[in-house]
């Protein structure tokens, strides 16, 4: 069972790295926000794996908080930043 967690963890960390790469590359702001959302979901999954691997039930609470609050960043982006710079590249 442990090796299953390990393999999943490796895949998730790779996904995290790809998210970081996508935030760096863009090219548009919306792409970066989407990549940030991807890393948020990946973070939730990694936390759940850690909860099993380390026998740390509080990691599940952290995952719960992260899952609920990650989408707020996307909403704040659409409400605050998106309107001013629509159809423009951020550079």
């Amino acid at each position: 069972m442990n090796s299953l967690y390990s393999i999943t963890l490796v895949i998730l960390l790779l996904s995290l790295l790809m998210g970081v790469f996508r935030i760096w590359r863009g090219p548009r702001m919306a792409d970066r926000i989407m990549a940030a959302q991807l890393t948020g979901s990946t973070g939730v999954a990694v936390l759940l794996i850690f909860a099993e691997l380390q026998n740390q039930p509080a990691a599940r609470d952290t995952a719960l908080v992260l899952a609920l609050l990650a989408m707020l960043v996307a909403i704040a982006f659409v409400g605050r930043v998106w309107g001013f710079t629509r159809e423009k590249k951020d550079s």
């Binding site: 863009g26 970066r32 973070g43 850690f50 952290t62 960043v73």
Partner: protein
């Protein structure tokens, strides 16, 4: 395997810190910084510090991200010049270099010194845990053994909100508030607002037996308020400066009141009677949660345009 995980996390953490500092575009920096908060909460879990991981997830990924994006909107609205690279002749470069090196040296000194506390504090805490009224040692420390520190921390938060209020009055270029009349968002609010609220109360309740507590619950509660506001629903409560300020000091007032009652019986400030310690701590934490949530929300609210914000009525 464990070392590999830790090493990867450390590499990602350092890489993100570098990226968020040295990226040219501010928006990209903000994104990397939010991500840094996420990875940091993973690292805290690896270090078996779930209390800090919870706080980092709630504050780093939630409320700080929103505040930074909001600040970005302000910068764009006032068409500030893009950030320039630091010049070598500028004194602030040398100031930053000097203080940075100082902090690194101090940290190195702290790490190199072997840990030999005069009193074994962890043993003291576990010995006296039964009298504290809660079973989670961190909550016992924060709200019973060292409640003075917590009291002053909350006072600092109130001070921060006051500073934000002062700054708002001198802001000449408020950002127009774009509400989002979106069906999807309203459905989102209906679904998520109760859930975020529930999770906040759960964290508060869980604080006495497992990781959680007032600060984490307050940060989550603030996110619920912000969601409410971003969707475009305004409450009368948030429009009136009077209510706003009362909300800030509510938790602090409860804390001071509960702490002051023992003074009447000739006991020191902030000593709880053993029999009621658990209930009193929960009462204080409830007040603190509401106030911290309200203060963090106010930090977001106060940066909004002054026209949507009424001064208190003067007949």
């Amino acid at each position: 395997m464990n070392e590999l995980i830790d090493l990867t996390l450390i590499c990602i953490l350092l890489g993100l810190a570098t990226l968020s500092l040295f990226t040219q575009s501010l928006f990209r920096s903000v994104m990397f910084f939010i991500l840094l908060g996420l990875i940091l909460s993973l690292v805290w879990i690896r270090l078996d510090a779930p209390d800090i991981a919870l706080a980092e997830a709630a504050i780093g990924a939630g409320i700080t991200g929103i505040l930074l994006l909001d600040a970005l909107a302000h910068l764009r609205a006032t068409s500030n010049t893009p950030p320039q690279l630091l010049q070598l002749k500028q004194p602030r470069f040398w100031l930053a270099l000097l203080s940075g090196t100082g902090v690194i040296l101090a940290l190195g000194l702290a790490v190199s010194e072997p840990l030999s506390p005069v009193v074994a504090l962890d043993l003291k805490v576990s010995e006296n845990l039964a009298e504290s009224g809660v079973t989670h040692p961190i909550t016992a420390i924060l709200l019973n053994f060292r409640s003075y520190d917590t009291l002053l921390e909350v006072a600092v938060l109130v001070l921060a909100a006051l500073v934000a209020l002062t700054l708002r009055q001198s802001d000449e270029h408020p950002v127009a508030n774009e509400f989002l009349p979106n069906q999807l968002l309203h459905a989102c609010l209906k679904l998520f607002f109760p859930m975020i609220f529930l999770v906040s109360m759960y964290l508060l309740w869980a604080g006495s037996t497992q990781p959680g507590g007032a600060f984490q619950a307050g940060a989550v509660l603030a996110s619920a308020f912000v969601l409410f506001y971003l969707v475009g629903l305004k409450t009368q409560l948030a429009q009136n400066e009077h209510y706003l300020k009362r909300g800030w000091i509510f938790g602090l007032a409860i804390f001071v009141l509960v702490g002051a009652v023992p003074l009447l019986q000739g006991q020191p400030f902030l000593t709880y009677p053993d029999a009621h310690a658990g209930v009193l701590i929960l009462l204080i934490e409830l007040g603190l949660t509401l106030s911290i949530g309200w203060i963090l929300f106010s930090l977001f609210l106060l940066s909004q345009s002054a026209s949507t914000f009424q001064k208190k009525d003067t007949p």
